[in-house]
Symmetry: C2
């Protein structure tokens, strides 16, 4: 995303003038502190208080009403009671104001009455094309010295920096700012989106992705305003700007607390869906707020890791081992050091030093050895970055270590992180180290975790790109089948109809014949070849097995006769009213690994493809993975590789490997179906048999559920 291009939100972040509607002198009120904060941060534009009750606020001339202002404020911060907000926005709009931050609460979050008020505010903002932040939010902060806007509750400000923070929780913001100040975490922008009636996290992502002052974007969300759009926007932003996210409400307990909407998926599935979304959009998910900021620190430092190969340099074995463990967990590699560099290290270091990776210089290493060894390691082409761990010794203070690391790094462009083991206070030297682009941590695991996220982001940004493939399919056949199903009033398609739909999209089924008589069945069986499966075809029987409508393992004509008679009998007794359209005689597939492939549709995420290992283990082990459609070739491949059962598909115990290219293509074809036929709300191929290399995949059971609404059409059921 091109940095520096101004966008629709620049009026929010860098207004020439700000009016605070509801500014006040009354101590303890939001109106008082907010206006004081605007002044206190040294806003470079003009700030106007508006309040009929005061002639001046904080020493600045106050205007009774918006209409009295001497100029049109570019931005307004609104703190008046909820019932007055819509009118205020209207007045602002009449003047020509382009942005409004509504701090006031008492809207959708309190229930129906508030929701009505909120709708009025949104309508007013729309009428005047005002960019609306909030309501019910903490405000907005821009540390750019050309702007210096603090339109938040928070009096104390974190240092200026390159981290943008967007939060769905206002209350969280106050704590984060306090943490930022204590830990010297520098922010570029800080926005609380509140109820997201106007601007949401997607708008902000798009805007912050263009902001030259922002090097990393942090999101705290409890739900996504629009998962589909998030995917599009985040995919583009993460091309150039890393995005880190905390998505809370991830467990049922948390979700209950977040009172989030529930989709069609089970809770744990829903959280997996968020994981899929973040992965597909290159967004890195943090497990905890502490992790979020430790990761942010590394990105914020500007360190680059061009690959996963890490060198660890330490003066203490224990922390080095701990770091090596953490590196493996973070998918970083510890390359062996080449003999020449080992020789050089050997010259620098004491005889007891370990010259593997980690390089353990042992406790007698001094500052010079830290400096020179780091320099050597960073010169190695086999090393993408380094972690330096310094434990205090009698001869080496943390300050001396910090200086040595800074010097050893010199002008190298490789990532260097430091662990000054156990050090929690931020001395001048540590600050200096961080100012020179070396993020510094108390414990080695934290540093490694940060470097690991850097490597993950780099892998994303430099990944091989593939384009969504569009297969030649027979959409008319699909339309015909669906029309027919609708005409029969079915919502769950009978298997033979599901097969027509999938067949039209190029998914293979066993060779099958529709017959109406036993003679026909016997001819069909001879034609497709024994063993065969016999299935009833009826629009009214979506669970054929329950009524004796499926017979498997029919080896010969005699078996077939028996099965036929038994099925007729069973259907007559168990489904006397079902409309029987005939019987399918189908070749029984002798081999292949069972997988499942399906479509689900979610109100926020749209069409989703599900893939997993099939058979009994699906239910027991839930070995499934999700992806939002459309799915690219590499995405399909990635789905296959990400299930635990992947090794089964690769072939274990001397079995031949499965036909993975055919499986990947089937995933892409189902993805295309999911996107092109929105009437399908659910689809299950379970099992789909993956045969050995070159033999393709064959679906042996299919189930399709259509949207219950009769208003079916390309956009009726897919909410964008």
């Amino acid at each position: 995303m091109a940095k520096g291009r101004p966008d629709a939100l620049s009026g929010l972040f860098a207004p020439a003038s700000v009016a605070v509607i509801g500014a006040s002198n009354r101590v303890g009120t939001v109106g008082a502190s907010l206006f004081r904060n605007v002044l206190g941060a040294g806003f470079r534009g003009v700030a106007y208080p508006v309040n009929p009750r005061w002639s001046s606020v904080s020493g600045v001339r106050c205007y009774p009403r918006v209409a009295d202002l001497p100029e049109t404020p570019e931005l307004a911060v609104v703190i008046v009671p909820a019932r007055d907000v819509a009118a205020t926005v209207d007045e602002l709009g009449a003047l020509g104001t382009r942005g409004a931050i509504v701090i006031s609460a008492g809207f959708r979050e309190i229930g129906a009455a508030g929701a009505t008020l909120e709708d009025e505010v949104v309508a007013a903002a729309r009428r005047h094309r005002i960019a609306l932040v909030g309501p019910n939010c903490f405000g907005l902060l821009n540390t750019d010295p050309e702007v210096s806007l603090n339109a938040t509750f928070s009096e104390s400000l974190p240092p200026r920096g390159n981290i943008a923070f967007v939060s769905q929780s206002g209350a969280l913001c106050a704590g984060i700012l306090r943490y930022g100040i204590a830990e010297r975490i520098g922010f570029s922008r800080f926005v609380s989106v509140g109820n997201r009636a106007g601007i949401d996290e997607n708008d902000l992502l798009a805007s912050l992705g263009r902001d030259p002052a922002t090097k990393v974007i942090l999101l705290y969300v409890e739900s996504l305003a629009d998962g589909r759009r998030f995917l599009e926007v985040a995919r583009e932003v993460t091309e150039s700007t890393p995005v880190l996210v905390i998505k809370s409400g991830r467990t049922p307990a948390g979700e209950r607390a977040a009172k989030s909407h529930t989709g069609s998926l089970a809770q744990s599935g829903r959280d997996q869906l968020y994981d899929a979304l973040f992965e597909q959009s290159g967004v890195l998910r943090a497990d905890s707020i502490g992790d979020l900021f430790r990761m942010a620190k590394v990105f914020s430092s500007g360190a680059r890791l061009d690959g996963p190969r890490l060198a660890i340099l330490t003066n203490s074995g224990g922390p080095g081992i701990v770091a090596a463990d953490a590196a493996a967990r973070a998918h970083l590699e510890l390359p062996a050091l080449a003999p020449p560099v080992r020789t050089e290290l050997g010259r620098l270091l004491s005889r007891s030093a370990a010259l593997a990776n980690p390089v353990d210089m042992t406790a007698d290493a001094g500052a010079d050895q830290f400096r020179d060894s780091l320099r050597l390691l960073l010169r190695e082409p086999e090393v993408d970055g380094a972690l330096v761990i310094a434990t205090p010794t009698g001869t080496l203070t943390a300050e001396a270590a910090a200086r040595a690391i800074r010097k050893g790094r010199g002008a190298s462009r490789k990532a260097v992180a430091a662990c000054l083991f156990g050090l929690t206070d931020l001395s001048h030297e540590v600050g200096d180290l961080e100012a020179h682009g070396v993020p510094t941590f108390t414990f080695p695991e934290e540093a490694v975790q940060g470097l690991g996220s850097l490597a993950r982001y780099r892998a994303w940004a430099t990944r091989r790109r593939t384009e969504v493939r569009t297969f030649a399919v027979d959409r008319r056949a699909v339309r015909r089948t669906l029309r027919h199903a609708r005409s029969l009033g079915v919502v769950v398609l009978p298997e033979y109809a599901a097969r027509e739909v999938l067949g039209a999209y190029g998914v293979a089924f066993p060779d099958a014949r529709r017959v109406r008589t036993l003679d026909g069945a016997q001819a069909a069986a001879e034609s497709v070849g024994y063993p065969v499966v016999l299935k009833v075809a009826s629009p009214d029987l979506s669970h054929k097995t329950d009524v004796g409508g499926v017979a498997m393992g029919i080896e010969n004509a005699s078996d077939l006769r028996t099965a036929w008679a038994r099925m007729q009998d069973s259907l007559a007794r168990k489904a006397p009213r079902a409309r029987i359209e005939g019987f399918e005689v189908e070749a029984q597939i002798p081999d292949g690994k069972e997988v499942l492939l399906g479509i689900q549709r979610d109100p926020g995420f749209g069409p989703i493809v599900v893939f997993g290992m099939g058979g009994i283990y699906v239910e027991a082990l839930r070995d499934v993975t999700f992806r939002l459609a459309p799915i690219r070739p590499l995405g399909a491949r990635h789905m296959i590789e990400s299930v635990r059962g992947f090794r089964v598909l690769q072939g274990v115990r001397g079995e031949p490997p499965s036909d993975l290219p055919a499986l990947a293509e089937a995933i892409e074809r189902v993805s295309q179906l999911a996107v092109e036929v929105p009437e399908i709300v659910e689809l299950d191929l379970n099992p789909l048999l993956v045969r050995s290399e070159g033999a393709g995949v064959v679906a042996v059971d299919a189930r399709i559920v259509l949207a219950p609404s009769s208003r079916s059409g390309p956009s009726a059921s897919a909410r964008r």
Copy 2:
């Protein structure tokens, strides 16, 4: 473990007198700083410097040699060069000294020459029954004011507290002490075990478990000196004292760095083994050093959680949701609040407050509401403990929140943890809160994680106990079989012999007959019932399948004839020299879930039982679990429940549940075999078929590997 009983190590921790051999005035030497540290910490006994080069050290009269001391020092700290240490220990022993801490390095850690010196030191200590700490260690610390012993390198001391820390890495100690000081983490004892030539972590665990000043024990280990003994000692200590551990070298990279010995198991298996060991002994494993101390803080506070039911009280929704997520991950429950308490909370709090759990008081909550709500929640019988999250607001400072939490807790004995969101500095009020037993954290996840470990420990300490069962078995049959195998010179037992061994221990196999002729085979097949399996019986054929020595699915006499002829032919061609002892005709088991059950033997851990799901998924998914034998009934049950495939055994898709009691008993019987027959170094039942409830388990393949040595006996191959 009874607190307060003095033990063999009390002379180390609380000596009346300490001699520092190698004390010095030369600035920057260990001898100078160590003696100064002993004086500086205000040692309550008498400290004597010993060094022929000085007449006084740090102003204290110095003695040229140990023999010149005016009294026998109870403890000696030895800092002389490695080559002089053994002689020094001998001199100390001659005087009657009972404990020696050898700080000096240059022993086993530097290779063979050092190992020889170390053996001499150990021999000297043994001769004189001196308790030896080190060599190559950081020293020892006892903060008991009656003792005040700082025999370490570290000049600055952490506060006195109730955490004992034992470390295998000396270098780590310096960093931890620094961290302890910065974070006000109070220690009772602090010991660096170095090369563990004498005292090891097991001795210290046993001793610290009796120490009344110690409420929680922290271990940092890279390997365990004796895994078996650890299990015994830790099981006893954790009855009364929680033990938290960092075991590093857990990944191959980390283990390489730790240069740890490799056992018979693969690396990932080895780490799983440590997990098993810690779980069986009630030791809580931390994932990182940061986690270790966050957990320790909660234990150290003395907080008790009698159950997993947590109430969350917050003034900010976001952090509350984050905490609810973390609670689910930590296996804590958030019980619904009863209507009466909701009514009372409703009276206390603003209309916008959410009265579920988390209780979100919203941002306008003041200190009184924190106090009164907490009081209410702690009174609830449905609540075992509470987490209070306070985010700063205009009306509530962190200090006011801290005071309110302290008051709200009052005299309640339930655990209360606090999150003062984003606060990192330790103000007086926070210190006061912690002094009153409320551990306080920066972020909610950390607090929840700590409380979760408290609940886990509580569950361990109050677990239902079962005793190891000893089944009546036929040991003579086992001895006979093993003798016979030895006489034939085999190490891998043929299946029929493995069957004899397992049969003698009550493991069921399919009904089988040994035959020598086709006629015999046909009679046998009639007797056991078709379908049958035909297998060759030969001491020379441990992989029968490879030579065509197994035929399955024999349905009738005609099949059997064909199979017999084919097998004779194949054996004649592929194994012409094998000693054929006959053929087994075995009933083919028609059903059952495939699991595997086995024995492995590890030099440090002794006999281990392995259990997991069988078939193709074992290799692919590695769904296995380990436990050190002997295994108790609940332990066996726990193994079954801890594999991912447990749900398959419970019965999915309408299948009947498997016979879990029979499976658990089979695990216990195999465990008994592992303990009683140490010659068996490896055993595999793969697959073992678990049939439906009441139908038992049947092993269909068995493989036993004996120790290669001929010196077999009850103790030859099981290192204790």
